[in-house]
Amino acid sequence: MINYSEIEKLLIETLEKESPESLREWLNSKKREEAFADLGEGDYQTLETEFGEFCYNANTTQGEILTFSIGEYNYTLAA
């Protein structure tokens, strides 16, 4: 059973606590993840394309997840 009013209350409480800086930082972290997840969709052959080819050639099961870090950032790729 979905409790509409409780979810709405929690959403407002959580967002009220956010400072512009904390919300911006969260948004930027998501954008970094997204930019990485989208590599290979554009016109440049990048890591996800290479990773996709590796998975394809290695018969890797689709949907398997690779997580790794570059510097302070964590990234995730789905095979």
Binding site: I7, E8, L11, T14, P20, W26, K30, E41, Q62, I65
Partner: protein, 168 residues
């Protein structure tokens, strides 16, 4: 209540043994396991895909639907979804002067534990391709997708059929 859904994947040498997880920005309901409600939509997606192998596969799943937010056919769920999306968007605009995407809002809800027991969202768009309408000037057919956030509700995942991508 269980319902049947379909997922399109690239055809590879080895069949998938579980649903594919989508992380891309084009994943409009946030990161999750995406399914089509209609088998024909799953086939269209595969035909239009630019897969390396130039072939797609469709898998059929039984999904436990009880705690899915059904914004397509349940009026209360729909009104609630619109409300929380707009509440979140207004905060983003007010605090950082930026309109978020639906994906970002969904990711925010999930990462901050706001969705609680909502394990997926059923959503729709209205494609404006002639192949979706048999009448003039009206696109009446919903294209319905389910995004699953909790894989435990994917009760089965079985190969259904395969086909060829239509692009060169």
């Amino acid at each position: 209540m269980n319902r049947t859904f379909y997922q399109t994947l690239e055809k590879r040498k080895i069949r998938a043994n579980f649903a594919g997880y989508c992380l891309r920005t084009s994943a409009w309901l946030g990161s999750g396991y995406y399914f089509w409600s209609d088998e024909l939509d799953a086939m269209r997606w595969g035909q239009d895909a630019e897969y390396r192998s130039k072939h797609y596969e469709i898998y059929k799943s039984e999904i436990l639907f009880d705690d899915v937010l059904n914004t397509v056919f349940n009026e209360q769920d729909y009104n609630f979804y619109v409300k929380i999306i707009e509440i979140a968007a207004e905060y983003f605009i007010k605090k950082i002067n930026e309109r978020p995407s639906i994906k970002l809002i969904n990711d925010y809800m999930r990462e901050h534990g706001i969705y609680q027991n909502i394990v997926g969202v059923l959503f729709q768009d209205l494609p404006t391709s002639k192949s979706y309408s048999l009448v003039q000037n009206l696109f009446y057919k919903k294209r319905i997708q389910l995004c699953v956030y909790n894989k435990n509700i994917i009760l089965s995942f079985n190969y259904h059929l395969d086909g060829e991508c239509l692009h060169d």
